[in-house]
Amino acid sequence: MDSQYKKEGKTVLWESFAEEEQTLKSRGEIYPLWLQGGLFLLMIGVLLGVFFYSPVDFRLKESTRIMYFHVPMSVNAFVAFLLSALYGAGYLWKRKLDQDVRSSVSAEIGLLFAVLATATGAVWSRYAWGKYWNWDPKQVTILLLILIYAAYFVLRMSVEGEERRAVLSSAYALFAFVTVPFLMLIIPQAMDTLHPAVVRERQIEPQMMQVLLLSFLSFLGLMVWIYRLRVAVELQKLEQKESLL
């Protein structure tokens, strides 16, 4: 198929994109227009809230605003890892490959948001603590988690055969999730850390909480959107593979 794209140039490429988009739409996997528009407006609203409506902490100054990105990102990572485990269990139960696709796409998105949360956290701690990276328990545990899920993709890449890969990675996704509550919640809370827990303890001003809640919503919406697109693309790849067999 690749050679065909090269030969006939851009128009074919464009048509095939359009065709692909049509198939994705017919699956109903892409957000409908009103949902896309709504999410877009919500995001604009969140940005306005973050930069113009929300007050800042008098000690942390402008760095307070990183919270509106950092915290929803880590919540998203948690939710995505949970989904990955649930669909992993779903595959082991039903033995349908789409469950494995959903599980791996969730793990991928969870990894993405975990990395983003770690990066935004490091930028913030440069200001709040004085260092980008201090091997704080919170930083060590999220790094472990990132490694655990990176290993998931190494596992996927190293196994031949759809079914075998699906079984192994579904089991791995289940076990990997067992570590998530420990690494994201229990251990950092039990240990001495520089990381604050202002959201869990509701120690932030009401306006900050309002913006944060809207931000949670829009990040969740964004994640579901990415998820549905990725699942649609992966399912289509799977179908193509199956039709070739």
């Binding site: 942390l60 004085g130 932030i204």
Partner: protein, 131 residues
């Protein structure tokens, strides 16, 4: 996979995590107590609370000194050479990085624990504690 094996595997994993959480507690955290700092003599990170009343800053020499109380309750004077961090006065808990020399801890780096409340102005505790 047999059901028994799955349960066994799950049990082993949970046991490992419990073991890990206990055994690697030390490895997971860079922060030690003053006692451990005294025993090792190496460059370590000590976390603790500052006695705000007894903070002294020698602007000419650029030396900040204050008593630090760690989690075990022992206290040592910290000598920090360097620029006083901007939000030092509001910090409750800090981490000092350096080594123990006799009874004083000589720090060359200092990290501040961020506030446990986010407030737009200092005097607003009242409105928050209602939440």
């Amino acid at each position: 996979m047999k059901k028994g094996n799955l349960i066994l595997a799950l049990g082993i994993i949970i046991a490992f995590i419990a073991l890990g959480a206990g055994a690697f507690r030390k490895t997971l955290t860079p922060y030690v107590t003053l006692r451990e700092a005294r025993e090792s003599g190496a460059r370590v990170q000590v976390s603790g609370k500052i006695d705000k009343q007894r903070v002294r800053y020698d602007v000419m020499k650029g030396v900040l000194s204050f008593p630090l109380r760690d989690h075990e309750g022992s206290v040592a004077t910290v000598l920090y050479r360097g620029v006083k961090p901007g939000n030092f006065d509001q910090a409750e808990q800090i981490v000092v990085i350096g080594r123990m020399k006799g009874d004083t801890f000589e720090a060359d780096e200092m990290l501040l624990k961020c506030p446990s409340k986010y407030q737009s102005a200092p005097g607003k505790e009242g409105s928050l504690s209602q939440e």
